[in-house]
Protein backbone atom coordinates (compact mmCIF):
# COMPACT_ATOMS: atom_id res chain seq x y z
CA UNK A 1 0.00 0.00 0.00
CA UNK A 2 2.74 2.37 1.02
CA UNK A 3 4.77 1.54 -2.09
CA UNK A 4 1.69 2.13 -4.23
CA UNK A 5 1.04 5.56 -2.71
CA UNK A 6 4.68 6.36 -3.25
CA UNK A 7 4.57 5.30 -6.86
CA UNK A 8 1.41 7.30 -7.60
CA UNK A 9 2.94 10.26 -5.87
CA UNK A 10 6.17 10.08 -7.85
CA UNK A 11 4.21 9.80 -11.08
CA UNK A 12 2.06 12.83 -10.24
CA UNK A 13 5.15 14.83 -9.32
CA UNK A 14 6.82 13.82 -12.52
CA UNK A 15 3.84 14.71 -14.68
CA UNK A 16 3.18 18.17 -13.32
CA UNK A 17 6.51 19.87 -12.83
CA UNK A 18 5.33 23.36 -13.82
CA UNK A 19 2.17 23.45 -11.74
CA UNK A 20 3.71 25.33 -8.83
CA UNK A 21 4.61 28.94 -8.16
CA UNK A 22 8.26 29.71 -8.89
CA UNK A 23 9.45 30.12 -5.30
CA UNK A 24 7.84 26.83 -4.41
CA UNK A 25 9.41 24.91 -7.26
CA UNK A 26 12.03 23.50 -4.99
CA UNK A 27 9.53 21.61 -2.86
CA UNK A 28 6.59 19.34 -3.49
CA UNK A 29 4.47 18.08 -0.63
CA UNK A 30 1.66 15.58 -0.51
CA UNK A 31 -0.49 14.15 2.23
CA UNK A 32 -1.54 10.53 2.37
CA UNK A 33 -4.92 11.94 3.52
CA UNK A 34 -5.85 15.60 3.38
CA UNK A 35 -8.43 15.17 6.10
CA UNK A 36 -8.21 13.51 9.48
CA UNK A 37 -11.66 12.07 10.10
CA UNK A 38 -12.88 11.83 13.65
CA UNK A 39 -15.47 9.09 13.97
CA UNK A 40 -17.16 7.71 17.10
CA UNK A 41 -14.39 5.14 17.50
CA UNK A 42 -11.60 7.68 16.91
CA UNK A 43 -8.60 7.03 19.11
CA UNK A 44 -5.89 9.14 17.57
CA UNK A 45 -4.41 8.82 14.12
CA UNK A 46 -1.25 9.16 12.12
CA UNK A 47 -0.61 11.94 9.63
CA UNK A 48 1.83 10.96 6.88
CA UNK A 49 3.47 13.57 4.69
CA UNK A 50 5.45 12.78 1.54
CA UNK A 51 7.66 15.28 -0.19
CA UNK A 52 10.32 15.90 -2.77
CA UNK A 53 13.03 18.52 -2.51
CA UNK A 54 14.90 19.38 -5.68
CA UNK A 55 17.96 20.98 -4.15
CA UNK A 56 20.41 20.41 -1.34
CA UNK A 57 19.50 21.78 2.05
CA UNK A 58 17.80 21.16 5.34
CA UNK A 59 14.10 20.78 5.87
CA UNK A 60 11.72 21.98 8.55
CA UNK A 61 8.04 21.04 8.57
CA UNK A 62 5.54 22.77 10.85
CA UNK A 63 1.99 21.59 11.56
CA UNK A 64 -0.29 24.20 13.13
CA UNK A 65 -3.87 23.98 14.34
CA UNK A 66 -6.29 26.92 14.16
CA UNK A 67 -5.34 29.84 16.40
CA UNK A 68 -7.28 30.46 19.59
CA UNK A 69 -7.40 32.81 22.54
CA UNK A 70 -6.20 31.05 25.66
CA UNK A 71 -6.47 32.05 29.31
CA UNK A 72 -3.64 30.82 31.51
CA UNK A 73 -4.47 30.67 35.20
CA UNK A 74 -2.19 30.39 38.20
CA UNK A 75 -3.26 28.76 41.45
CA UNK A 76 -2.37 30.17 44.81
CA UNK A 77 -3.25 29.37 48.39
CA UNK A 78 -5.94 31.27 50.24
CA UNK A 79 -7.33 30.07 53.59
CA UNK A 80 -5.29 26.92 53.06
CA UNK A 81 -7.15 26.05 49.86
CA UNK A 82 -5.73 26.13 46.36
CA UNK A 83 -7.62 28.15 43.82
CA UNK A 84 -6.91 30.32 40.78
CA UNK A 85 -5.61 33.69 41.88
CA UNK A 86 -4.03 35.13 38.76
CA UNK A 87 -4.55 34.88 35.02
CA UNK A 88 -3.26 36.13 31.71
CA UNK A 89 -4.83 35.95 28.28
CA UNK A 90 -2.94 35.19 25.10
CA UNK A 91 -3.90 35.74 21.49
CA UNK A 92 -2.96 33.66 18.40
CA UNK A 93 -2.11 30.52 20.29
CA UNK A 94 -2.09 27.59 17.87
CA UNK A 95 -4.49 24.99 19.25
CA UNK A 96 -2.06 22.34 18.04
CA UNK A 97 1.60 22.47 17.13
CA UNK A 98 3.99 19.82 15.90
CA UNK A 99 7.15 20.02 13.80
CA UNK A 100 9.85 17.95 12.13
CA UNK A 101 13.42 18.76 11.09
CA UNK A 102 16.09 17.07 9.03
CA UNK A 103 18.92 18.29 11.22
CA UNK A 104 19.77 19.93 14.52
CA UNK A 105 17.64 22.99 15.23
CA UNK A 106 20.34 25.64 15.50
CA UNK A 107 22.30 24.31 12.55
CA UNK A 108 19.36 24.58 10.19
CA UNK A 109 18.64 28.25 10.61
CA UNK A 110 19.58 31.10 12.95
CA UNK A 111 17.24 31.89 15.87
CA UNK A 112 15.84 34.99 14.16
CA UNK A 113 14.73 33.00 11.16
CA UNK A 114 13.32 30.17 13.25
CA UNK A 115 11.32 32.71 15.19
CA UNK A 116 10.05 34.30 12.00
CA UNK A 117 8.82 30.98 10.63
CA UNK A 118 7.77 29.60 14.02
CA UNK A 119 10.03 26.57 13.89
CA UNK A 120 10.32 24.92 17.28
CA UNK A 121 8.12 25.41 20.34
CA UNK A 122 10.41 28.09 21.80
CA UNK A 123 10.11 30.24 18.71
CA UNK A 124 6.32 30.38 18.81
CA UNK A 125 5.14 33.86 19.50
CA UNK A 126 1.73 34.63 20.89
CA UNK A 127 0.69 38.02 22.22
CA UNK A 128 -0.23 38.56 25.85
CA UNK A 129 -3.31 40.73 26.29
CA UNK A 130 -3.41 43.37 29.00
CA UNK A 131 -0.62 45.17 30.81
CA UNK A 132 1.97 42.86 32.30
CA UNK A 133 5.67 42.94 32.97
CA UNK A 134 8.06 41.05 30.70
CA UNK A 135 8.92 38.61 33.48
CA UNK A 136 5.25 37.81 34.15
CA UNK A 137 4.58 37.25 30.49
CA UNK A 138 7.56 34.93 30.25
CA UNK A 139 6.41 32.84 33.23
CA UNK A 140 2.85 32.51 31.94
CA UNK A 141 4.08 31.81 28.41
CA UNK A 142 6.28 29.00 29.64
CA UNK A 143 3.39 27.63 31.70
CA UNK A 144 1.14 27.74 28.64
CA UNK A 145 3.65 25.78 26.56
CA UNK A 146 4.24 23.30 29.40
CA UNK A 147 0.48 22.74 29.74
CA UNK A 148 0.02 22.25 26.02
CA UNK A 149 2.93 19.82 25.91
CA UNK A 150 1.52 17.90 28.86
CA UNK A 151 -1.78 17.48 27.00
CA UNK A 152 0.07 16.39 23.90
CA UNK A 153 -1.05 19.41 21.89
CA UNK A 154 2.43 20.92 21.54
CA UNK A 155 5.44 18.90 20.44
CA UNK A 156 8.03 17.96 23.04
CA UNK A 157 10.70 17.37 20.40
CA UNK A 158 10.84 17.39 16.61
CA UNK A 159 9.72 14.37 14.61
CA UNK A 160 12.27 12.70 12.36
CA UNK A 161 12.26 13.25 8.63
CA UNK A 162 13.03 9.98 6.85
CA UNK A 163 14.80 10.25 3.51
CA UNK A 164 13.84 7.47 1.15
CA UNK A 165 16.33 8.80 -1.43
CA UNK A 166 18.35 12.01 -1.62
CA UNK A 167 15.27 13.93 -2.70
CA UNK A 168 12.34 11.94 -1.51
CA UNK A 169 11.24 12.15 2.12
CA UNK A 170 8.53 11.09 4.47
CA UNK A 171 7.39 12.27 7.93
CA UNK A 172 4.89 10.73 10.32
CA UNK A 173 3.07 12.86 12.88
CA UNK A 174 1.04 11.19 15.60
CA UNK A 175 -2.34 12.81 16.17
CA UNK A 176 -3.76 12.37 19.69
CA UNK A 177 -7.36 11.31 20.38
CA UNK A 178 -8.40 14.71 21.71
CA UNK A 179 -6.91 16.70 18.82
CA UNK A 180 -8.53 20.13 18.38
CA UNK A 181 -10.67 20.29 15.26
CA UNK A 182 -10.48 22.83 12.47
CA UNK A 183 -8.32 23.91 9.53
CA UNK A 184 -4.65 23.09 9.91
CA UNK A 185 -1.75 24.39 7.87
CA UNK A 186 1.42 22.47 7.16
CA UNK A 187 4.39 24.66 6.20
CA UNK A 188 7.50 23.12 4.72
CA UNK A 189 10.70 25.18 4.53
CA UNK A 190 13.95 24.43 2.71
CA UNK A 191 17.06 26.06 4.16
CA UNK A 192 20.48 26.46 2.56
CA UNK A 193 23.35 27.83 4.62
CA UNK A 194 20.96 29.30 7.15
CA UNK A 195 18.76 30.98 4.51
CA UNK A 196 15.26 29.96 3.53
CA UNK A 197 15.21 29.22 -0.19
CA UNK A 198 11.89 27.49 -0.59
CA UNK A 199 8.58 27.13 1.17
CA UNK A 200 5.38 25.27 0.57
CA UNK A 201 1.97 25.53 2.27
CA UNK A 202 -0.42 22.60 2.52
CA UNK A 203 -3.87 22.53 4.08
CA UNK A 204 -5.25 19.84 6.31
CA UNK A 205 -8.71 19.52 7.76
CA UNK A 206 -9.31 17.75 11.04
CA UNK A 207 -12.94 17.29 11.85
CA UNK A 208 -15.68 15.00 13.02
CA UNK A 209 -17.44 12.91 10.40
CA UNK A 210 -20.45 10.62 10.37
CA UNK A 211 -22.55 10.20 13.49
CA UNK A 212 -20.34 12.33 15.73
CA UNK A 213 -20.35 15.17 13.22
CA UNK A 214 -24.15 15.08 12.97
CA UNK A 215 -24.51 15.24 16.74
CA UNK A 216 -22.07 18.14 16.93
CA UNK A 217 -23.81 20.06 14.13
CA UNK A 218 -27.24 19.40 15.62
CA UNK A 219 -26.09 20.66 19.03
CA UNK A 220 -24.59 23.85 17.63
CA UNK A 221 -26.92 24.74 14.76
CA UNK A 222 -30.22 23.90 16.37
CA UNK A 223 -29.51 23.85 20.07
CA UNK A 224 -33.14 24.18 21.21
CA UNK A 225 -34.23 21.10 19.25
CA UNK A 226 -31.10 19.31 20.42
CA UNK A 227 -31.97 20.02 24.05
CA UNK A 228 -35.54 18.82 23.50
CA UNK A 229 -34.24 15.67 21.77
CA UNK A 230 -31.91 14.99 24.71
CA UNK A 231 -34.85 15.34 27.11
CA UNK A 232 -37.08 13.07 24.99
CA UNK A 233 -34.36 10.41 24.89
CA UNK A 234 -34.07 10.53 28.67
CA UNK A 235 -37.87 10.47 29.17
CA UNK A 236 -38.15 7.49 26.84
CA UNK A 237 -35.45 5.64 28.77
CA UNK A 238 -37.11 6.45 32.09
CA UNK A 239 -40.49 5.29 30.78
CA UNK A 240 -39.01 2.02 29.48
CA UNK A 241 -37.48 1.33 32.87
CA UNK A 242 -40.83 1.89 34.51
CA UNK A 243 -42.58 -0.33 31.99
CA UNK A 244 -40.26 -3.30 32.32
CA UNK A 245 -38.75 -3.26 35.74
CA UNK A 246 -41.07 -1.70 38.27
CA UNK A 247 -43.80 -4.22 38.88
CA UNK A 248 -44.55 -3.85 42.53
Amino acid sequence: MFRFVLLVFVIICGLTPKAYAFDSDLLTIGLADDTVQITTGFNGSRLTIFGVKREQGDLAIVVRGPERRVTVRRKGQSLGMWRNVDDMRFRNVPSYYDFAMSGVEREIAPAILRREYGIGVDSLNFDALGRNTEAEIRTFREALIRNKQMHGHFALEPEKITFLSDEFFRVDFDIPADVPTGRYTIMTYLFQDGRAVGERKTDLRIGQVGFSASVYRFAHNNSLMYGIAAVLMALFAGWLVNLFFRKE
Partner: protein, 304 residues
Protein backbone atom coordinates in the same frame (compact mmCIF):
# COMPACT_ATOMS: atom_id res chain seq x y z
CA UNK B 1 -13.12 0.47 24.06
CA UNK B 2 -12.49 4.15 23.46
CA UNK B 3 -15.39 6.29 22.39
CA UNK B 4 -15.32 9.84 21.05
CA UNK B 5 -17.73 12.27 22.71
CA UNK B 6 -18.93 14.67 20.00
CA UNK B 7 -19.73 17.62 22.28
CA UNK B 8 -16.92 17.23 24.82
CA UNK B 9 -14.63 16.67 21.77
CA UNK B 10 -12.54 14.09 23.56
CA UNK B 11 -12.13 10.35 23.79
CA UNK B 12 -13.10 8.45 26.94
CA UNK B 13 -13.00 4.75 27.80
CA UNK B 14 -16.60 3.56 27.29
CA UNK B 15 -16.21 0.82 29.93
CA UNK B 16 -15.42 3.35 32.67
CA UNK B 17 -18.45 5.49 31.81
CA UNK B 18 -20.77 2.47 31.70
CA UNK B 19 -19.31 1.19 34.96
CA UNK B 20 -19.80 4.59 36.58
CA UNK B 21 -23.40 4.70 35.32
CA UNK B 22 -24.06 1.17 36.57
CA UNK B 23 -22.51 1.84 39.97
CA UNK B 24 -24.46 5.07 40.42
CA UNK B 25 -27.63 3.32 39.21
CA UNK B 26 -27.01 0.58 41.77
CA UNK B 27 -26.75 3.19 44.52
CA UNK B 28 -29.89 4.96 43.36
CA UNK B 29 -31.79 1.67 43.39
CA UNK B 30 -30.38 0.81 46.79
CA UNK B 31 -30.80 4.13 48.57
CA UNK B 32 -33.40 5.92 46.47
CA UNK B 33 -31.06 8.81 45.70
CA UNK B 34 -30.30 10.22 42.27
CA UNK B 35 -26.57 9.71 42.56
CA UNK B 36 -25.59 12.93 40.82
CA UNK B 37 -23.33 13.68 43.77
CA UNK B 38 -21.11 10.80 42.60
CA UNK B 39 -21.42 11.12 38.83
CA UNK B 40 -20.42 14.77 38.55
CA UNK B 41 -17.21 14.53 40.64
CA UNK B 42 -16.18 11.28 38.92
CA UNK B 43 -16.68 12.73 35.44
CA UNK B 44 -14.51 15.67 36.49
CA UNK B 45 -11.87 13.26 37.92
CA UNK B 46 -11.87 11.57 34.49
CA UNK B 47 -10.87 14.83 32.86
CA UNK B 48 -14.21 16.01 31.48
CA UNK B 49 -14.79 19.75 31.64
CA UNK B 50 -17.04 20.61 34.65
CA UNK B 51 -19.55 22.28 32.32
CA UNK B 52 -20.06 19.10 30.28
CA UNK B 53 -20.25 17.00 33.46
CA UNK B 54 -22.98 19.20 34.98
CA UNK B 55 -24.94 19.73 31.74
CA UNK B 56 -24.95 16.07 30.78
CA UNK B 57 -25.71 14.94 34.30
CA UNK B 58 -28.89 17.04 34.32
CA UNK B 59 -30.00 15.10 31.24
CA UNK B 60 -29.32 11.78 32.96
CA UNK B 61 -31.38 12.92 35.96
CA UNK B 62 -34.43 13.36 33.70
CA UNK B 63 -34.41 9.63 32.98
CA UNK B 64 -33.70 8.63 36.57
CA UNK B 65 -36.44 10.84 38.04
CA UNK B 66 -39.16 9.96 35.49
CA UNK B 67 -39.16 6.27 36.34
CA UNK B 68 -39.44 7.22 40.02
CA UNK B 69 -42.22 9.74 39.41
CA UNK B 70 -44.30 7.21 37.44
CA UNK B 71 -44.09 4.67 40.24
CA UNK B 72 -45.19 7.23 42.85
CA UNK B 73 -47.86 8.65 40.55
CA UNK B 74 -49.53 5.25 40.23
CA UNK B 75 -49.87 5.13 44.00
CA UNK B 76 -51.19 8.71 44.04
CA UNK B 77 -48.24 9.96 46.09
CA UNK B 78 -47.54 13.19 44.20
CA UNK B 79 -48.84 16.58 45.38
CA UNK B 80 -48.90 18.43 42.07
CA UNK B 81 -50.04 21.76 43.54
CA UNK B 82 -47.21 21.90 46.05
CA UNK B 83 -44.77 20.57 43.44
CA UNK B 84 -45.95 23.32 41.10
CA UNK B 85 -45.20 26.05 43.65
CA UNK B 86 -41.77 24.53 44.27
CA UNK B 87 -41.23 24.53 40.51
CA UNK B 88 -41.72 28.29 40.26
CA UNK B 89 -38.81 28.62 42.70
CA UNK B 90 -36.67 25.94 41.10
CA UNK B 91 -37.00 27.26 37.55
CA UNK B 92 -35.93 30.69 38.82
CA UNK B 93 -33.11 28.98 40.72
CA UNK B 94 -31.86 27.15 37.65
CA UNK B 95 -31.91 30.30 35.50
CA UNK B 96 -29.81 32.08 38.12
CA UNK B 97 -27.66 28.96 38.60
CA UNK B 98 -26.79 28.69 34.90
CA UNK B 99 -25.77 32.38 34.79
CA UNK B 100 -23.83 32.00 38.04
CA UNK B 101 -22.04 29.00 36.54
CA UNK B 102 -21.10 31.08 33.50
CA UNK B 103 -19.86 33.94 35.67
CA UNK B 104 -17.77 31.68 37.91
CA UNK B 105 -16.30 29.97 34.84
CA UNK B 106 -15.38 33.34 33.41
CA UNK B 107 -13.71 34.29 36.70
CA UNK B 108 -11.79 30.99 36.67
CA UNK B 109 -13.32 29.90 39.97
CA UNK B 110 -15.71 27.15 38.86
CA UNK B 111 -13.19 24.37 39.47
CA UNK B 112 -12.81 25.70 42.99
CA UNK B 113 -16.44 26.46 43.81
CA UNK B 114 -17.92 23.13 42.65
CA UNK B 115 -15.73 20.94 44.91
CA UNK B 116 -16.14 23.42 47.76
CA UNK B 117 -19.95 23.24 47.56
CA UNK B 118 -19.71 19.46 47.38
CA UNK B 119 -17.52 19.35 50.48
CA UNK B 120 -20.05 21.44 52.42
CA UNK B 121 -23.13 19.56 51.25
CA UNK B 122 -21.73 16.03 51.38
CA UNK B 123 -19.92 16.71 54.64
CA UNK B 124 -22.93 18.05 56.51
CA UNK B 125 -25.46 15.54 55.11
CA UNK B 126 -22.99 12.68 55.54
CA UNK B 127 -22.21 13.53 59.16
CA UNK B 128 -25.88 13.91 60.11
CA UNK B 129 -26.85 10.66 58.43
CA UNK B 130 -23.79 8.89 59.86
CA UNK B 131 -24.71 9.94 63.39
CA UNK B 132 -28.39 9.08 62.97
CA UNK B 133 -27.81 5.66 61.42
CA UNK B 134 -25.11 4.73 63.89
CA UNK B 135 -27.25 5.58 66.89
CA UNK B 136 -30.25 3.67 65.52
CA UNK B 137 -28.00 0.69 64.73
CA UNK B 138 -26.69 0.70 68.29
CA UNK B 139 -30.20 0.94 69.73
CA UNK B 140 -31.08 -2.04 67.50
CA UNK B 141 -34.19 -0.35 66.14
CA UNK B 142 -35.14 1.63 63.09
CA UNK B 143 -36.18 5.15 63.98
CA UNK B 144 -37.72 6.67 60.89
CA UNK B 145 -37.82 10.46 60.99
CA UNK B 146 -37.79 12.13 64.38
CA UNK B 147 -41.12 13.88 64.93
CA UNK B 148 -39.77 16.14 67.68
CA UNK B 149 -38.48 18.56 65.04
CA UNK B 150 -41.21 21.14 64.47
CA UNK B 151 -39.39 23.73 62.42
CA UNK B 152 -42.52 24.51 60.42
CA UNK B 153 -44.25 25.85 63.53
CA UNK B 154 -41.44 28.32 64.09
CA UNK B 155 -42.61 31.93 64.21
CA UNK B 156 -40.51 32.87 61.17
CA UNK B 157 -42.31 30.40 58.90
CA UNK B 158 -45.84 31.06 60.21
CA UNK B 159 -45.52 34.83 59.83
CA UNK B 160 -44.63 34.79 56.11
CA UNK B 161 -47.20 36.23 53.67
CA UNK B 162 -48.87 34.65 50.56
CA UNK B 163 -50.40 31.77 52.50
CA UNK B 164 -51.78 28.97 50.34
CA UNK B 165 -53.81 25.85 50.99
CA UNK B 166 -52.40 22.52 49.79
CA UNK B 167 -55.29 20.07 50.31
CA UNK B 168 -53.36 16.97 49.20
CA UNK B 169 -50.68 17.54 51.84
CA UNK B 170 -53.17 19.04 54.33
CA UNK B 171 -51.02 22.13 54.66
CA UNK B 172 -51.71 25.84 54.99
CA UNK B 173 -48.38 27.58 54.56
CA UNK B 174 -46.83 30.58 52.87
CA UNK B 175 -46.04 29.84 49.21
CA UNK B 176 -42.63 31.37 49.86
CA UNK B 177 -41.49 28.32 51.85
CA UNK B 178 -41.90 25.65 49.15
CA UNK B 179 -40.80 28.27 46.60
CA UNK B 180 -37.54 28.84 48.48
CA UNK B 181 -36.90 25.10 48.86
CA UNK B 182 -37.46 24.72 45.11
CA UNK B 183 -35.12 27.65 44.44
CA UNK B 184 -32.27 25.90 46.25
CA UNK B 185 -33.08 22.72 44.30
CA UNK B 186 -32.84 24.64 41.01
CA UNK B 187 -29.47 26.10 41.99
CA UNK B 188 -28.15 22.63 42.84
CA UNK B 189 -29.22 21.18 39.48
CA UNK B 190 -27.65 23.91 37.40
CA UNK B 191 -24.44 24.50 39.38
CA UNK B 192 -23.61 21.06 40.79
CA UNK B 193 -25.46 18.71 38.45
CA UNK B 194 -27.37 17.01 41.25
CA UNK B 195 -31.12 16.66 41.72
CA UNK B 196 -30.65 17.50 45.36
CA UNK B 197 -33.14 14.91 46.65
CA UNK B 198 -30.99 14.32 49.71
CA UNK B 199 -31.42 17.99 50.62
CA UNK B 200 -35.00 18.53 49.39
CA UNK B 201 -36.48 15.53 51.17
CA UNK B 202 -35.44 16.53 54.71
CA UNK B 203 -36.38 20.15 53.97
CA UNK B 204 -39.87 19.12 52.88
CA UNK B 205 -40.35 16.95 55.96
CA UNK B 206 -38.92 19.25 58.60
CA UNK B 207 -39.43 22.77 57.27
CA UNK B 208 -42.63 22.29 55.28
CA UNK B 209 -44.10 19.59 57.49
CA UNK B 210 -45.32 17.51 54.55
CA UNK B 211 -46.66 13.98 55.09
CA UNK B 212 -43.67 11.66 54.57
CA UNK B 213 -45.53 9.45 52.09
CA UNK B 214 -45.93 12.33 49.60
CA UNK B 215 -42.39 13.68 49.91
CA UNK B 216 -40.49 11.30 47.62
CA UNK B 217 -42.96 11.48 44.72
CA UNK B 218 -43.38 15.25 44.94
CA UNK B 219 -39.66 15.98 45.15
CA UNK B 220 -38.98 13.63 42.21
CA UNK B 221 -41.71 15.37 40.19
CA UNK B 222 -40.15 18.73 40.94
CA UNK B 223 -36.64 17.43 40.14
CA UNK B 224 -37.81 15.94 36.84
CA UNK B 225 -39.34 19.18 35.53
CA UNK B 226 -36.35 21.19 36.77
CA UNK B 227 -33.83 18.88 35.09
CA UNK B 228 -35.83 18.95 31.83
CA UNK B 229 -35.69 22.73 31.92
CA UNK B 230 -32.00 22.76 32.95
CA UNK B 231 -31.04 20.33 30.17
CA UNK B 232 -32.66 22.48 27.50
CA UNK B 233 -31.14 25.64 28.96
CA UNK B 234 -27.63 24.13 29.21
CA UNK B 235 -27.94 22.88 25.62
CA UNK B 236 -29.01 26.29 24.34
CA UNK B 237 -26.77 28.65 26.32
CA UNK B 238 -23.64 26.59 26.99
CA UNK B 239 -23.72 23.65 24.51
CA UNK B 240 -22.71 21.37 27.36
CA UNK B 241 -25.09 18.42 26.95
CA UNK B 242 -23.30 15.46 25.37
CA UNK B 243 -25.85 12.98 24.02
CA UNK B 244 -23.37 10.12 23.67
CA UNK B 245 -22.15 10.54 27.25
CA UNK B 246 -25.73 10.88 28.53
CA UNK B 247 -26.86 7.74 26.68
CA UNK B 248 -24.03 5.71 28.25
CA UNK B 249 -24.77 7.03 31.75
CA UNK B 250 -28.50 6.37 31.36
CA UNK B 251 -27.94 2.85 30.05
CA UNK B 252 -25.55 1.99 32.86
CA UNK B 253 -27.96 3.55 35.35
CA UNK B 254 -30.90 1.42 34.15
CA UNK B 255 -28.91 -1.81 34.55
CA UNK B 256 -27.44 -0.81 37.89
CA UNK B 257 -30.72 0.33 39.38
CA UNK B 258 -32.28 -3.13 38.94
CA UNK B 259 -29.54 -4.74 41.01
CA UNK B 260 -29.80 -1.95 43.54
CA UNK B 261 -33.55 -2.36 44.03
CA UNK B 262 -33.19 -6.13 44.48
CA UNK B 263 -30.32 -5.73 46.91
CA UNK B 264 -32.15 -3.08 48.92
CA UNK B 265 -34.82 -5.59 50.00
CA UNK B 266 -32.17 -7.55 51.87
CA UNK B 267 -30.65 -4.53 53.56
CA UNK B 268 -31.94 -2.99 56.78
CA UNK B 269 -32.77 0.73 56.58
CA UNK B 270 -30.24 1.88 59.15
CA UNK B 271 -27.43 -0.18 57.56
CA UNK B 272 -28.28 1.26 54.14
CA UNK B 273 -28.17 4.80 55.52
CA UNK B 274 -24.90 4.02 57.32
CA UNK B 275 -23.35 2.85 54.04
CA UNK B 276 -24.66 5.86 52.13
CA UNK B 277 -23.35 8.21 54.83
CA UNK B 278 -19.90 6.56 54.67
CA UNK B 279 -19.87 6.97 50.92
CA UNK B 280 -20.87 10.64 51.10
CA UNK B 281 -18.06 11.21 53.61
CA UNK B 282 -15.44 9.40 51.49
CA UNK B 283 -16.25 11.52 48.43
CA UNK B 284 -16.27 14.59 50.67
CA UNK B 285 -12.79 13.80 52.08
CA UNK B 286 -11.38 13.13 48.62
CA UNK B 287 -12.66 16.47 47.33
CA UNK B 288 -11.53 18.33 50.45
CA UNK B 289 -8.08 16.76 50.12
CA UNK B 290 -7.78 18.01 46.56
CA UNK B 291 -8.61 21.53 47.72
CA UNK B 292 -5.91 21.56 50.40
CA UNK B 293 -3.09 19.53 48.84
CA UNK B 294 -0.71 21.62 46.75
CA UNK B 295 -1.18 20.76 43.06
CA UNK B 296 1.91 19.59 41.11
CA UNK B 297 1.17 22.05 38.31
CA UNK B 298 0.05 25.49 39.46
CA UNK B 299 -0.87 26.69 35.99
CA UNK B 300 -3.81 25.63 33.87
CA UNK B 301 -5.09 26.75 30.48
CA UNK B 302 -8.53 27.33 29.08
CA UNK B 303 -9.43 28.02 25.47
CA UNK B 304 -11.83 30.94 25.06
Amino acid sequence: MQIYLPIAEMTVPAESILLLGTFVGFLSGLFGVGGGFLTTPFLIFMGLPPGIAVGTQSNQLVAASLSGVLAHFKKGNVDFKLGGVMLVGSLLGSVIGVSLFKLLKHMGQIEFVIPLLYVFLLGSMGLMMFYESLSSMLKKKDVEGDESSKLMHHKFFTSLPYKMRFPRSKLYVSALVPGAIGFVGGLLVSIMGIGGGFLLVPAMIYILGMPTILVAGTSLFQIMITTIFATIMQAVTNHTVDLVLAAMLIFGGVVGAQFGVRFSRKLKGSYARFLLASMLLIVCFKLAGDLFIAPTELYSTEVN
